[in-house]
């Protein structure tokens, strides 16, 4: 297969899901005629018709709320939230219902909520949020974030096939990453991958920060520093065995995400490493993330977000420790 962008890989994954399972429905703001503001749903309405791929009124809470009823009626809804910053109006439906409905009734809730997330796209306010920690903390949900086109394809297949609700975070700044993908490869939810092997320091990343971590690893190599990059793929459940396995080699860890560090999901990762890996750790875990301030105007986003330099510095500190 030709190399495809992540945007295209997600489009293909949706297309295959629609083709293989009549109960899959795709809807949201501008996903039909327009094919989505990022063209992720491009052409799907044309192929599958307006009863399976449709535009909704502008109302995120209802977009998620109707999913519950659609599931009870036998559908598998795959709604899109247009941007990360517009998932908040749907927070109650997600936390009070999507996450809890099975616990309440015994009825499984195969709902996959797609959310383009993260910064680095030069956008205005509310278009560059990283709200994953809110959902990872919400029992009843599964939360995933692919970093590559191939994983995006496969992970979305797993999410849609999963009988439980999944928040599917798409690193929108990586929509144009390209690679050849193998649509037969399976990526189960809950399994991290080693994006690059290394021996010096473990770098835990997900979504948009994976490629930054990989860039850092390349740069570090020149200084004879070896970084092992873990791409979590799944935040909840979290694949601790893979992280600890890496730690057994490196004894040092860095966690990188775009969200502000304070109270962010990096805290969970670091706390778990520091607990389960207490005897393995030879240096404090550095958490690298957005500043503890609201996402800034676009001009400043590069300074606000993690970058290669901050990872390299953290690696130096970790390696020099003790």
């Amino acid at each position: 297969m030709e190399p495809v962008t992540m945007a295209k890989a997600i489009n293909l994954s949706l297309r295959d899901a629609l083709a293989n399972d009549d109960s899959v429905l795709i809807f949201g703001e501008d996903v039909g005629t327009l094919g989505g503001v990022f063209r992720i749903t491009d052409g799907l309405q044309k192929t599958f018709g307006p009863e399976r791929v449709f535009d909704t009124p502008l109302a995120e809470s209802a977009i998620i709320g109707i999913c519950i009823g659609l599931v009870l009626r036998g559908f598998k809804p795959v709604p899109e939230i247009q941007f990360d910053g517009f998932i908040y109006p749907a927070f109650d439906q997600i936390v009070s219902h999507v996450a809890k409905y099975r616990n309440r009734t015994g009825v499984s809730m195969p709902i996959t909520i797609r959310v383009p997330f993260g910064g680095h796209i030069g956008a205005v306010e509310h278009h560059s949020e990283s709200p994953e920690a809110y959902f990872a903390h919400t029992a009843g949900l599964k939360v995933v974030a692919p970093a590559t086109p191939g994983d995006a394809y496969a992970l979305l297949q797993s999410a849609i096939a999963d009988p439980d609700p999944v928040i599917f975070f798409e690193p929108k700044a990586r929509y144009y990453l390209k690679e050849e993908i193998d649509t037969a490869r399976e990526v189960p939810i809950g399994r991290a991958r080693i994006a690059r092997e290394g021996t010096g320091v473990t770098v835990v990343a997900y979504g948009p920060t994976v490629s930054i971590a990989l860039d850092a690893a390349k740069a570090a190599e020149k200084e004879n520093i070896s970084l092992e990059i873990i791409d979590l793929r799944s935040l909840s459940p979290l694949d601790m065995p893979t992280i600890l396995e890496s730690l057994r080699k490196t004894h040092r860890a860095i966690v990188v995400h775009e969200a502000p560090v304070f109270g962010g999901f990096g805290g969970e990762i670091a706390a778990r490493i520091a607990d389960d890996g207490f005897d393995l750790l030879e240096a404090p875990i550095e958490r690298i993330g957005g500043m503890d301030a609201p996402y800034p105007p676009a001009r400043y986003e590069k300074l606000y977000l993690p970058d290669v330099d901050r990872i390299l510095e953290a690696a130096d500190v970790a390696l020099a420790y003790g």
């Binding site: 429905l25 009124p57 209802a62 709320g65 109707i66 009070s96 099975r102 616990n103 309440r104 439980d164």
Partner: protein
């Protein structure tokens, strides 16, 4: 501008059945087509669910239930609604529709587990086409609309009954759901049980407008009717449901009634409302009203009444006994058992640890 002016559909078969004040017309009442048995059954069910409500209050006082939310005064709505629907039509209730659930055939002793604090949802909604009682106000309204949209996609003629209180109409979710219903022409009947109070907040502080009239703004009709007349409820719901089945789209029914009891057993209504109001509404109590009507029609005599009361007492007795005998699931199952269909290893480990820590204590 005329190019975009939209008006509520002219097709409104419900309105002709009612006077402008929302009373079922004598003519409509005479042509409902309900058999004497069916009419008596409506009465029987109202008595049954009221007695059950009282019993639940007692059980709460005795500590058998943690909380109870009485629906006294709203029985005509509970009973008339279920009677007017097909069994395969789904009902999406709020939290006060215990009586509706009973009419749908759910064992009240099982349902009470919710108020006993042993289950968040003690029945399978798919068995009874009765969604779980939902506590965050108005949040269930989009669920019903989603179901109804799905019915349309499946070309099914099942309709949805979505019910909520007057307070619920202030919530964003209510509005978003109403608007979706209009846009997607979803076969859903919205039933507002306007009982004049949202805990301590009276209707006049809840909204300055008319709830029924809001339907027009969403492109479908609405009507305000007497919510204490079981036959009026029956007629309105059945007619609106038939219209929805035919593809006529949503309908909003605002049924005016009164919450005769406290909001819940945690509430003390003497702090915010007067007895005068309660007395005024007692005069419109749906049960004696319907009894008198049945008696007037010669459909109910002393013997029948006594038989109903005996039967109801027996059912309540059964419920009480069954409730006391109901079991609660084991803690591991209750806390972890239904969260995920495909739980992760770490989740299962947490459950195991939890269960073994219980054993060791």
């Amino acid at each position: 501008m005329a190019d975009v002016v939209q008006v509520a559909p002219a097709d409104d078969p419900v309105r002709p059945l009612f006077s402008p004040a929302g009373e079922l017309t004598a003519e409509a009442r005479a042509t409902l087509g309900l058999s004497p048995d069916a009419l008596r059954d409506l009465y029987h069910k109202m008595v049954w669910i009221r007695r059950t409500d009282q019993e639940a209050l007692n059980l709460q006082r005795q500590g058998e239930l943690g909380l109870w939310g009485p629906y006294q005064g709203q029985e005509a709505i509970h009973v008339g609604t279920v009677a007017a629907l097909r069994e395969t039509d789904w009902i999406f209730p709020s939290y006060r529709e215990f009586g509706m659930g009973m009419c749908r055939g759910i064992d009240p002793a099982e349902m009470l587990k919710l108020f006993r604090g042993v289950s968040h949802g003690p029945w399978d909604p798919r068995t009874y086409h009765f969604a779980p009682l939902v506590i965050p106000v108005a949040s269930q309204v989009p669920h019903g609309v989603g179901f109804a949209m799905g019915s349309r996609f499946k070309h099914s003629d099942d309709v949805v009954l979505s019910t909520f209180g007057d307070g619920a109409t202030s919530k964003g979710d209510w509005h978003e759901a109403m608007n979706f219903a209009g846009v997607f022409q979803a076969p859903v009947i919205f039933l507002c049980q306007n009982n004049h109070w949202a805990i301590s907040v009276p209707l006049a502080k809840q909204t300055a407008g008319s709830i029924a009239e809001r339907a027009q703004g969403y492109g479908f009709p609405g009507i305000r009717i007497d919510g204490n007349d079981v036959l009026g409820i029956f007629a309105a719901i059945r007619t609106a449901a038939e219209r929805a089945r035919r593809g006529g789209g949503p309908y909003l029914i605002e049924a005016m009634t009164y919450r005769m009891g406290p909001h819940t057993t945690s509430d003390d209504p003497t702090r915010y409302r007067t007895n005068v109001e309660l007395e005024r509404w007692s005069a419109k109590d749906p049960i004696p009203r319907f009894r008198q009507w049945l008696e007037g029609q010669g459909l109910l005599d002393e013997a029948a009444l006594a038989a109903i009361n005996r039967e109801v007492e027996a059912k309540v007795e059964t419920m009480r006994n069954r409730l006391r005998a109901t079991t609660a699931p084991a803690p591991g199952e209750a806390i972890f058992g239904r969260v995920y269909q495909h739980p992760s290893d770490s989740f299962l480990e947490e459950r195991e640890e939890f269960e073994s820590s219980l054993e060791s204590n």
